[in-house]
Symmetry: C2
């Protein structure tokens, strides 16, 4: 993604979404019917966190109405994501047939590989994140949390209604604070217990009820690493479709140096110098230590810090 002068978020994978959602018009059944009948409508088809693509096609990530029909997609259950600037509607649907039985040059590719290998158009990553989060929400929210009754889909997929207690349920998004914490000219990075060998990244954690974004940064950094954080600045956000997280990237200033690591969350955590981080980013670190790929907002925080003169 190219860097946008408008905000840092647009330059991050899944952060650019050109669809006009027309969220205020979702109750309009005529609009939905017109979108369904539109020959320019295209559908993203997913199976879990894998997207169905057709390599070599003009738009490998979407499928036209005839292809959707051949794939056994019931468009009446598809989710209307929005419209491209040229007016073409975009839908999302779940693949319900056995993917091994597909022919016609289809492949199911997980979203990480899709992003790292740039297998679909740059303007499709945001919509695919939207599709994955929405479908994942429906898959896990078929029942009313308030009374246990089965719920029904409403507003073109943007709400689920309970016919028993009348509760309305909206798609869930979980805000997560992810932070680059610096002390002078070094930054704090950790290795989660499930990370790939050699990979270090920014610390992160879910924002909790009754907590500001800045205090979530401070709490998680203290709980995971024993480091107190003073000033916190927001940098960028990223919709992270595993399954429906809003990553909120911040930059924090450490107040102490001695790390007390939470060994249940992390298997390593230490300070990294600018020279060391440069080698990690270049892939030339003598110990093979690496950073996350550009797919992750953590890497954008790290790259931004590398490009910024130290304030410490």
């Amino acid at each position: 993604m190219p860097t946008s002068p408008l905000d840092y978020s647009r330059g991050i994978t899944f952060g650019y979404n050109p669809l006009d959602r027309r969220s205020e018009e979702r109750e309009d059944g005529v609009l939905l019917a017109a979108a369904l009948a539109d020959a320019q409508a295209r559908t993203y088809v997913l199976s879990g966190d894998r997207l169905l693509i057709r390599p070599g096609a003009a738009d490998p990530g979407t499928h036209d109405p005839a292809a959707a029909r051949d794939l056994g997609i019931d468009m009446a259950t598809a989710l209307l994501l929005g419209w491209l600037p040229n007016g073409s509607p975009r839908f999302a649907a779940r693949l319900s047939v056995d993917p091994d039985g597909l022919f016609g040059g289809y492949e199911l590719v997980d979203l990480r590989t899709l992003a790292q290998e740039a297998l679909i158009g740059a303007d499709s990553y945001g919509p695919v994140a939207q599709a994955r989060s929405m479908l994942g929400w429906h898959e896990r929210h078929g029942f009313c949390a308030n009374c246990g009754h089965a719920t029904t889909i409403a507003l073109g997929g943007y709400r689920r209604d309970c016919p028993s207690c009348a509760a309305q349920h909206f798609p869930r998004i979980d805000p997560v604070a992810i932070m680059l914490v610096s002390l002078g000219d070094r930054i704090l990075l950790g290795r989660g217990t499930r990370f790939r060998t050699g990979n270090f990244s920014c610390l992160a954690g879910f924002v909790e009820p009754g907590e500001t974004i800045e205090d979530a940064v401070r709490r998680e950094t203290f709980e995971e690493a024993g480091i107190r954080v003073g000033r916190v600045r927001y940098h960028a956000s990223q919709p992270w479709p595993f399954v429906s997280t809003l990553m909120i990237g911040c930059i924090g200033e450490a107040l102490n140096e001695d790390i007390v690591m939470d060994a249940t969350e992390l298997e390593a955590c230490r300070w990294f110098s600018r020279a060391e981080v440069s080698r990690m980013v270049e892939g030339t670190h003598p110990d093979g230590i690496t950073c996350p790929p550009r797919l992750a907002i953590a890497r954008h925080l790290i790259d931004h810090w590398l490009q910024t003169p130290s304030t410490g």
Copy 2:
């Protein structure tokens, strides 16, 4: 709340929360038992969005173990919010007896009045927001959204588990973008259809799946007012306990002037000059037009803009 040099969020009602949550230690039953047995433990008692207070008491917003027992609170079902810096635990519990039958100088006060009249200590608003969001989540999430079975409380109230399908459910927080949009030396304010007479505020809306914070600002502003927003900057966040929203306050730069108002959401929307906004804030506007109170992050965005020289 005093302004903090660390971030703007701390200076906003509900934004300052001194509790140490020790979230990594919630599985520790010994810790929970010790907190329950601690004579210094205090409990926030709520009924819906009203807090039980005892005006004139040293800490009017909390109740000691004996008072909690007299109020019929079963502390085994209370939620452990965290610990004050002095080590004193803070719990939250729902009032289960008829409030009209209470004696001992108790009052139930809604959270807005509580904040506007400063009826409890400054360090209690964050914990009360935390308590209200957590209790509200439990009240509406007694059943598994994945399978419909009744769920059970876990991790001292920070998780609900499904004994049937083994799904784990965590407290829900809904991120909302709220924005001060400026054009030169004027700002865009609107009157929601349910606002108090004469009151104008910032536009706002829920962040959606597959959307960055900045794009939520742009989408909502365009959908509600027909105004395109270019550059967006983050200002501050606020936990908003009605019931569990994370308000994300941003400042956006408008790209056009002509407003096309969504009349289903708003009953008025227009540009306000700096002189006019100053009078609204002072309460001296000739037409009686007002701004939200300092309780709301919208007012903090407006006050911040008034104090900042125009960049337009």
